[in-house]
Symmetry: C2
DNA sequence: CTAGCTTCGATGACATGTCAACAAATTTTC
DNA sequence: GAAAATTTGTTGACATGTCATCGAAGCTAG
């Protein structure tokens, strides 16, 4: 290993700031979401992704892919959400292995009533604190990093058992 | 609730990008860290914060405060790290309730050998993908958000039982 | 002093996430 | 078209995080 190139002062400031923001923003958003809507962030994300589809239906594995979750994690989580009546599972017509995750009316109700408050919180604690230029910069920079990470070559883009050596 | 002000296209792009980057970056950094150094990110953070103090010693509660962790979480995590020989606990001289978390030689060894690779990964997957202006923008923006969230008035800045209504 | 009140850290119960293994269904290969 | 390989979703064991509670120690006010 060569002499490591440590982060300089500005880089360190950005990296520490990022991690701190990450943690604090998460805590606050989760706190408000849970208090105002009785949902966890994972709950919200599942419902949100489902509600963005025309029918409120997605193959489990497609949903897992979009969320960057493992199928296992999603399956466990859906079981809990199913018990609360937010989603159901249906059999898949064309693929008998598959299951389709379906938003229930209660689930749609939950996301629709949670969304305004959640978006407001995202604005209040993040977006509205940024200049338009910063919003654009954040959009550009995050997408560049995402594209880089998603590049084939390194590793799987989804959380899955590591590729076979 | 007033008519919600949804995110416009640019804001949405920034918000989605942020969340996606967050997830992917985390997965990748954790994967490399675990593979190269046998440490999880929480392990790394504990060791890193400890090693930044002159003696490699910190009060448990001070460490928890810096990490934005609950004392409970830290206590559990330290027990596991202690079993692996990375840290120890010592009694606190001036406060008999307290315990002092101490970096063991093995712990120092672990962080020192993990750090170069980890910093390199942070560079490779984030910092080096940004222009100097973006690094500065990220530093500025994250710190502004952190300061805003840390403001008294809203809620606790650390994960703790919520304030009594 | 000492009776509350607070803080410290540990703990156990529980919620959530990860990982490996599995059966069933599908796809590929010959 | 059948054997082999892959994909799908579930499951159980385990690791990790959260939450409420606790005993011990410190602090504060009379």
């Amino acid at each position: 290993m060569d002499a490591p190139r440590w982060l300089d002062e500005r880089e360190d400031r950005a990296w520490r700031g990022y991690r701190r923001m990450r943690r604090l923003l998460d805590l606050e958003l989760a706190r408000e979401l849970s208090q105002d809507a009785g949902l966890s962030e994972p709950d919200y994300d599942v419902l949100s992704d489902l509600s963005e589809t025309p029918q409120g239906r997605l193959r489990l594995s497609e949903l897992a892919h979009r969320m960057l979750w493992s199928r296992s994690r999603l399956s466990h989580h859906l079981s809990r959400m199913q018990q609360r009546g937010l989603v159901t599972r249906e059999e898949c017509a064309d693929d008998a292995r598959g299951s389709i995750v379906v938003l229930t009316p209660a689930g749609r109700q939950a996301i629709e009533s949670a969304a305004p408050g959640h978006v407001a919180a995202v604005r209040r604690h993040l977006i509205d604190l940024l200049t338009p230029a910063e919003v654009d910069a954040l959009g550009a920079l995050t997408h560049r990093v995402v594209d880089h990470l998603a590049e084939p070559g390194l590793q799987a883009t989804r959380p899955q058992p590591a590729a076979k050596a």
